[in-house]
């Protein structure tokens, strides 16, 4: 169950049976957030919308592949969006279109990496565990997840050698794993 009461696992099962109204319920519940997630990675509204379009087509076609034994339906759907957005980013999609400066600055203020940590629900396991990380290392992990940056891009952003960046992230993951277990 998601916070707004939708049972996405059941809705995906309905999609698998060809029920289009189920996809519309998912769309109404999550499309705007999905665009937000893709925007943080691609920084271009048009690209973000395209990613969400493709993600919904993928969700529809492969809804029967969702395996409830492997996490929530919501995380599965958002992973599709993030994967597509990161692939597009690595393929250089961001360089080929003009930036949305206005949206970007609004995004940066509200939901950029800087704020991603603060905005996590108090008491959530992830927040509690991220809190235990050194601020710079935590930021490195968040840059990867929130903006989809590669090791090299994170190293450049934080002005540290690539090796340092890699070991920060590996150690942070080890600490997180211990804490989240």
């Amino acid at each position: 169950m998601s916070a707004d009461g939708n049972n996405y696992a059941q809705l995906l099962a309905a999609c698998g049976r060809g029920d289009r109204s189920a996809l519309r319920v998912i769309y109404d519940g999550e499309a705007r957030k999905m665009i937000g997630v893709a925007m943080r990675i691609l920084k271009r509204r048009e690209l973000a919308e395209e990613i969400v379009h493709d993600a919904f087509v993928q969700i529809w076609r492969f809804s029967s592949r969702y395996d409830p034994g492997l996490g929530s339906a919501r995380a599965w759907m958002f992973a599709i969006v993030r994967n597509r957005a990161i692939n597009a980013l690595r393929d250089g999609a961001r360089e080929t279109s003009a930036p949305d400066d206005e949206i970007n600055s609004a995004m940066d203020r509200e939901s950029g990496t800087e704020n991603a940590f603060d905005r996590l629900a108090e008491g959530s396991a992830l927040k509690r565990c991220l809190e235990q990380l050194d601020a710079k290392r935590r930021f490195a992990v968040l840059l990867a997840y929130v903006e989809g940056l590669s090791h090299g891009e994170i190293a450049a952003r934080l002005n540290v050698p690539l090796g340092t960046c890699k070991s920060w992230i590996t150690r942070s993951l080890a600490q997180l794993r211990e804490c989240l277990a």
Binding site: A31, H53, V57, R61, V146, S150, I169, L176, R177
Partner: protein, 233 residues
């Protein structure tokens, strides 16, 4: 219990930090390894808390319409070839790639076919079998007399005590049927007259115990797979 290193790699995968051969190798294992799939799912679940708090961005009114138009088309495709879709490992799925890679590598097959085509009979169908990383791994040519040739395009590592086995599948109820064994990455000719040679027929190579699969059906990991197409010769 997952290996410590695997769990960390699963975390890097979810963050989107694995690239190149490391990513390819991880995805290859992920396709079969339930423990690894669970590790990925756990990280995904934890990190998805970050997505839950993203600032929503209003979608243009036309987006849902576009999606519904696209699934109208996709829906038809899925019903017509749903089985074919499901045969693909979830690697292509997570990569967001579809059959684009097949089209690209088919161009390569055409070159091989046309070079070979002068001295030998023309194949009725050709299948480019792709690796989990979507690169061309081997080509199957099926001829009118029922024979097949397989041309590996890379060196597959066959561990001691194991063999590669070529399968084909044209009917869900019959299931995959063995074409023959390949001890090494070398071209081979199989004389068979009992196999159909249709379009969209699946060919795949799996790794099996020496002597071939003990069950008569694939039991080991899939090395490459691809669907047959009529070559435009």
């Amino acid at each position: 219990m997952t290996d410590h290193r695997d769990e960390l790699q699963a975390g890097e995968y979810v963050l989107g930090l694995l690239e190149g051969p490391t990513l390819a190798e991880f995805e290859r294992r992920l396709a079969h390894d339930r423990i690894l799939q669970t590790a990925v799912a756990n990280w995904r679940e934890h990190f998805s808390a970050i997505d839950a708090n993203v600032t929503p961005i209003e979608a243009p009114a036309t987006l849902l319409e576009k999606i519904e138009t696209s699934i109208g088309r996709a829906g038809t495709v899925e019903r017509a070839s749903g089985f074919r879709e499901r045969l693909w490992s979830n690697i292509a799925f997570w990569r967001g790639t579809s059959f684009a890679g097949v089209a690209a590598s088919l161009a390569l097959a055409m070159v091989v076919v046309s070079l070979a085509g002068r001295a030998t009979p023309k194949p009725i169908v050709v299948a480019v079998m792709q690796t989990a990383e979507m690169s061309p791994g081997a080509i199957v040519n099926a001829f009118a007399d029922g024979s097949l040739t397989i041309v590996p395009l890379k060196d597959f590592v066959v561990p001691e005590g194991q063999t590669m086995q070529l399968w084909t599948l044209w009917d869900k109820t019959t299931g995959p049927v063995s074409v023959g064994l390949l001890a090494r990455s070398k071209s081979l000719h199989f004389k068979r007259s009992d196999l159909p040679r249709g379009n969209d027929q699946l060919y795949e190579i799996t790794l099996e115990p020496a002597g071939g699969s003990p069950t008569g059906k694939p039991t080991g990991p899939v090395l490459v797979k691809g669907f047959a197409t009529t070559p435009r010769i």
